[in-house]
């Protein structure tokens, strides 16, 4: 059975991804990255003359940048216009497994 809901740019949303949005659930990487792709894909509104000076770095690329050398990070980010942006936004995901921590946002294993 084809459970694909939407293919958008590099992103694919499946039924289980959209279900996370409809219920009181933690959002997974697919949903988070979709929204950044959507913001980029929709482009500038008429009242947004500086839209091209905002760089949006989704969860996957942020994770990558956080785990490579600075030179590699610069190469990864170059196509996104980070170096000329007034503002660059990065989606940060961090995991903590300390027994004393509060689980603010429970995580799901990939269902793919």
């Amino acid at each position: 059975m084809d459970d694909k809901v939407l293919s958008y740019g590099d992103c694919l949303l499946r039924v289980c991804d959209v279900a996370l949005l409809t219920g009181p659930h933690w959002l997974n990487d697919a949903v988070m990255s979709f929204y950044f792709e959507y913001l980029r894909g929709e482009g500038a509104q008429p009242d947004e003359p500086h839209a091209d000076r905002v760089a949006l770095v989704d969860a996957s690329l942020t994770f990558l940048v956080a785990n490579v050398s600075p030179d590699e990070a610069r190469a990864v980010l170059a196509p996104l216009g980070v170096s000329r942006a007034h503002m660059a936004l990065f989606l940060v995901r961090a995991t903590r497994t300390s027994a004393s921590s509060n689980a603010f946002c429970a995580s799901f294993k990939s269902r793919r």
């Binding site: 933690w26 500086h50 936004l89 946002c105």
Partner: protein
């Protein structure tokens, strides 16, 4: 607003893997991102979303964290890598997620807070340019727009956006 230097909070950057092959193919790493937390069954474990903004003119990072700075260490490490990557001359300031970020009131809305914050921040700078890209303007805008009730609405609007896009695609295919 809590201003500290990046270097004072950044810890050692873990080198979990390195890139050797070119060219880079970012989507290849997506599965790795999804699977980076195999030990969620551990007591107290969990994965938390937040948003880090770099403001060029101010040479500052502003961290928006709906759990009050839980991701601060990770965000500061990222900020340190970015500062090195872009050869920032002066050590950039780092505004902690503990300072003024709107807080979630449940255990599942961190991602929606991060996205709603990104939406508000993008809109501010897209409209106003450099004059909007300051930590204080950003914090004020986010505090006003990213409230728990607004985040609840944002979640619903996101579902509608996905459905509308999917329906438009179906129409294009003639279904």
């Amino acid at each position: 607003m809590r201003l500290i230097q990046v270097s004072s909070v950044a810890r050692e950057r873990p080198s979990t893997f390195s890139l050797t092959a070119a060219p880079l193919a970012p989507p290849r790493f997506r599965s790795r991102q999804v699977n980076d937390n195999d030990d969620v069954a551990a007591a107290g474990g969990g994965s938390h979303w937040s948003l880090l903004a770099y403001l060029r003119d101010e040479n500052a990072f502003a961290h928006f964290d709906s759990a009050g700075g839980r991701n601060d260490a990770a965000a500061a490490r990222l900020a340190e890598t970015l500062a090195e990557a872009f050869s920032l001359k002066n050590s950039p300031a780092f505004v902690s997620g503990r300072s003024g970020s709107p807080r979630q009131r449940n255990g599942y809305d961190c991602g929606v807070f991060a996205l709603a914050t990104a939406h508000a921040a993008r809109r501010l700078v897209a409209r106003e340019g450099a004059s909007g890209a300051t930590a204080s303007r950003l914090a004020a805008r986010v505090a006003r727009e990213v409230t728990p009730s607004a985040v609840g609405r944002f979640r619903g609007e996101l579902v509608e956006t996905v459905r509308a896009l999917a329906e438009a695609r179906a129409r294009e295919r003639g279904e």
